[in-house]
């Protein structure tokens, strides 16, 4: 089969289970395509030979009861993978090889998946364009010189470009949903506490959440049911009843109440986004859902609050990268000098900016005015959602205020870059699940996404709505493999 990489995860699993394909064939196909796709710069580290070995081993003793039987998967380079270099897109971890495995990746290997390699991302997941990576920017398969979004840019590019059938990203303020939207794929940010953070390089602990990225909703649901487990090694992991999301997936969303928040109609939002939203509303209606206008009054404070809370936590979380124990170390005259040189040379500009912001907002005399106030805003935002969820089952919004932009376009304008997260950030602040599905194209042919936000622990519901709408939208990504010579 020459079109192996075009197959969705569900098709690949079916073909392997029916022995129409071997793991070796599938793994080889994705490696071949990945090799031909170097221009996308989606990978930071490749693990191909080891992947082929594992595939052969799988084929020799096939366990077809597994959910990901011999399926090769590349993952974001924020997940620690045992004996495979893990960089978080940073020079400071350029040479770091963990001796341990993150819970989320362990979960997929337990179901038979095989690691293909580690995917590019913004440095420490701080960015919305994948341009802050020490390993260079990533190309969007949709168009040359277009950013794939970020921070899970390599992951989005790899799924859209068919270098991996599915992937896992992380989302702190939109890092799964925004790149999914920019590349025309599906991305789910689960409820905070759904997926273990153990072994994931931390950015902002109270917001970070791993989640699936896939070509379609069904694959996304399957991956979510695999990666979401209660984990006693993460004190913020929550022990709730987890569905078998893929099995319980249904397109029947008749009578579901879907809220449309007026505050998401922001100033300067392109007309195309508004039109997409209206189209989405129509699709939801066509599926039998009831549309209800709602208000989330504190929405406009979400972005400023996020850009206080996330850098504050990051400034502390990144203190451990000091050149003492592992990773990059610069030579210094003494301990302080070594710290300063290591961190100045080891961290990129955006990471340094956020460490400085975070250090500032936590410092004495400013704590109450910034950090404490931001936490209060966060509570108000959560209250907004709690209030509307008394009336609706889910909320429909655009995923991003624009389609993908050009590489370099916003690099020197951090505020405009931060504005990209305006629709995704409130979801993280409230700890809710949100899914982005591709819903159309703008005039340039670039994909646009719609976001469905759910109640906490109600992933099944938003997956169902996404599944039903996906059929109506019938999105086709316009990717012409321009990078393959």
């Amino acid at each position: 089969m020459s079109d192996i990489t075009k197959q969705s995860l569900s098709e690949l699993v079916k073909n392997i289970k029916e022995k129409k394909l071997s793991s070796n064939e599938v793994t080889k196909a994705f490696i071949d395509r990945s090799e031909k796709s170097k221009e996308l710069n989606a990978y930071i580290s490749e693990d191909y030979s080891s992947a082929l070995e594992k595939a052969k081993k799988f084929d020799e003793k096939q366990n077809l009861d597994l959910k990901l039987p011999g399926i090769p998967i590349a993952v974001k380079d924020l997940f620690c993978t045992k004996n495979v270099r893990t960089t978080a897109g940073s020079k400071i971890l350029n040479n770091f090889v963990p001796t341990y495995e993150s819970t989320v990746t362990q979960n997929i290997w337990n179901e038979g998946a095989i690691l293909l390699g580690k995917l590019n991302c913004d440095e420490f997941a701080m960015g919305s364009s994948n341009e802050t990576s020490f390993f260079g920017n990533v190309q969007n398969p949709v168009d040359k010189n277009l950013v794939p979004g970020g921070s899970s840019g390599g992951s989005a590019s790899a799924v859209a470009g068919q270098l991996t059938p599915i992937t896992i990203g992380t989302d702190t303020g939109g890092s799964i949903r925004q790149p999914a939207s920019f590349t025309g794929i599906v991305g789910l940010k689960p409820t905070y506490g759904s997926c273990s953070r153990y072994g994931i390089v931390a950015f902002a602990s109270s917001l970070d959440q791993a989640g699936p990225m896939a070509q379609n909703v069904k694959d996304c649901a399957l991956l979510q049911e695999i990666i979401s487990t209660y984990d006693s090694k993460d004190s913020t992991s929550i022990d709730f009843k987890r569905n078998e999301y893929s099995k319980e997936l249904t397109k029947n969303i008749k009578g579901k109440k879907i809220g449309i928040p007026k505050e998401y109609r922001v100033d300067g939002m392109p007309k195309e986004i508004e039109e997409l939203w209206q189209k989405g509303i129509q699709y939801a209606k066509d599926c039998g859902a009831e549309i209800i206008d709602i208000t989330l009054p504190h929405t406009s404070y979400a972005l400023p609050a996020y850009y206080i809370v996330a850098p504050a936590e990051a400034s502390s979380n990144l203190a451990r990268y000091d050149g003492v124990k592992y990773g990059f170390r610069a030579k210094g005259e003494n301990l302080i000098d070594m710290y300063e040189k290591t961190r100045s040379e080891g961290f990129g500009a955006e990471v340094q900016r956020r460490i400085m912001i975070g250090t500032y907002v936590l410092s004495s005399g400013y704590y109450d005015a910034y950090y404490l106030k931001a936490q209060k805003v966060r509570k108000l935002i959560k209250n907004d959602f709690d209030e509307v969820y008394k009336k609706v089952d889910a909320i429909l919004t655009p995923s991003t205020p624009s389609s993908a932009f050009k590489i370099g376009e916003k690099k020197d304008d951090p505020v405009s870059m931060y504005l990209n997260d305006i629709f995704t950030v409130p979801v993280n602040l409230a700890g809710l699940p949100g899914i982005s599905i591709p819903a159309g194209h703008d005039s340039k042919g670039y994909p646009l996404g719609l976001q469905i936000i759910g109640k906490a622990f109600d992933e099944q519901n938003i997956l169902n709505i996404a599944y039903a709408m996906e059929e109506k939208i019938s999105f086709k990504n316009k990717i012409n493999d321009w990078w393959i010579k």
Binding site: F79, C80, T86, A88, L93, F96, P98, T99, Y100, S102, R197, Y198, G199, I200, V201, A202, A204, S205, S206, S232, K233, D234, S235, T236, A312, E313, S315, S316, L318, A319, R320, D322, V324, K325, Y326, L335, I336, Y339, T359, L362, S363, S364, Y367, Y371
Partner: protein, 491 residues
Amino acid sequence: MSKDKLEYLISRKDNQYEVIIGLEVHAQVTSESKLFSTSSTKFGAEPNTQVSLVDAAFPGMLPVINEFCVKQAIKTGIGLNAKINNRSVFDRKNYFYADLPQGYQISQFKDPIVGEGKVILDMPEGQKEIGIERLHLEQDAGKSIHDLDPQSTYVDLNRSGVALMEIVSKPDLRSPDEVSAYIKKLRSIMRYLGTCDGNMQEGSLRADVNVSVRAKGSKNLGTRCEIKNVNSIKFMQMAIDYEANRQVDLIEEGESIDQETRLFDTKKNETRSMRSKEDAHDYRYFPDPDLLPLEVSNEFIKKLKSEIPELPDDKKKRFIKDFKVSPYEANILVSDIDTAKYFEEVVSKMGKNKDIKLAVNWITGELFAVLNNKNLEISQSPISSKNLAILVNLIKNGTISGKIAKTVFELMMDGDKDPQKIVEEKGLKQQSDPKALEALIEKIINDNREKAIEYKQGKEKLFGFFVGQAMKASGGKANPQLINEILKKKL
């Protein structure tokens, strides 16, 4: 400088100064594993052999609270008569140092697990109450070793992540002696509870000492200096004495005292400035997002309360009431849990016709002297409580004299021998047969006729001579009381 009998005051010319002291005691929680990881806390292991990925702050590693350490902190809070908070929060205290792998210490800042409490000190002038401000849980850092190599610093992370209780007193202490009594009392309570072994040599107990001075009678607190990380009671006392005098000298010279952190140099016996208030770290405390607030129910606290053993203050009251020992003796007996235990074992093994006063004397006298000489804890006593009880009973029932008992005691130390057997084997039993003693004494009087006459003529001093002769003749075994009686009759 003169010291009033009851008050510790520093005098200069016409002025007298009072010293105000508050302590932040860092007590290592007795626990098999660390506060947020499963690594061992055993003292003295090879460097960096008790370090988990969490302790070394590897990327993606997360802390998970050790429930046992939480219980230990709550028990300690109960022992300090303190309020246990149903909800407490772990915060990050951010600073860079080579032996602090995370770049922050997980501690409790605004919401500690234990609130206000109190400790009673028994001072020579009477009881004194010292207020406890709070107790919170926190991680220890690793250890930087600067003297192994001229160029490099070595880091040992075995201690990194070990659970500490920081016990903050109110500024209620007024003298080095009170500080000593306070530390000893804290240690005693925690050892009773089994929450901290109190071993200062191993660093299980150390303190930051806050010292300020003020003119006697003044109500305002002076500017304080904090002396960091003092690890023995003696050093604390020396540091306070030095620091208080330094501050008084500054005031006398019309200078002001800078609020600063100081170090005590044990070799030079002086405190030195470490950093001023301006250079003080901004620790940027904020709630640790990796940990949820710690919530403990009233039932949980109640259950722990039911597990609390009798503490020194109550034990003291009971000893005085039940055993009729003096408050002074009771203090000595209860100050260390093992001493109290030993004493109670002796009492219970002495049976019905017991002489508790005698037992106390033997424990606090002979036994303590031996332990002191051999540098042993009472738990390592060469003489078991059972055998000491037998010995005391042998004295009480007249089998041996107190003097012979000392000989027997010496012999008991060799392998915790049964005193009864020693008395039998060595024939040390007291001669209490009046007839035998009468014969013996008659012989002595006959042999010393002249002296007997002198005695009768009024030279009463000679009575002692006859007692000595009788004791000598009996090989020291004669019952002294009987000898006295018989001699008086016969002479």
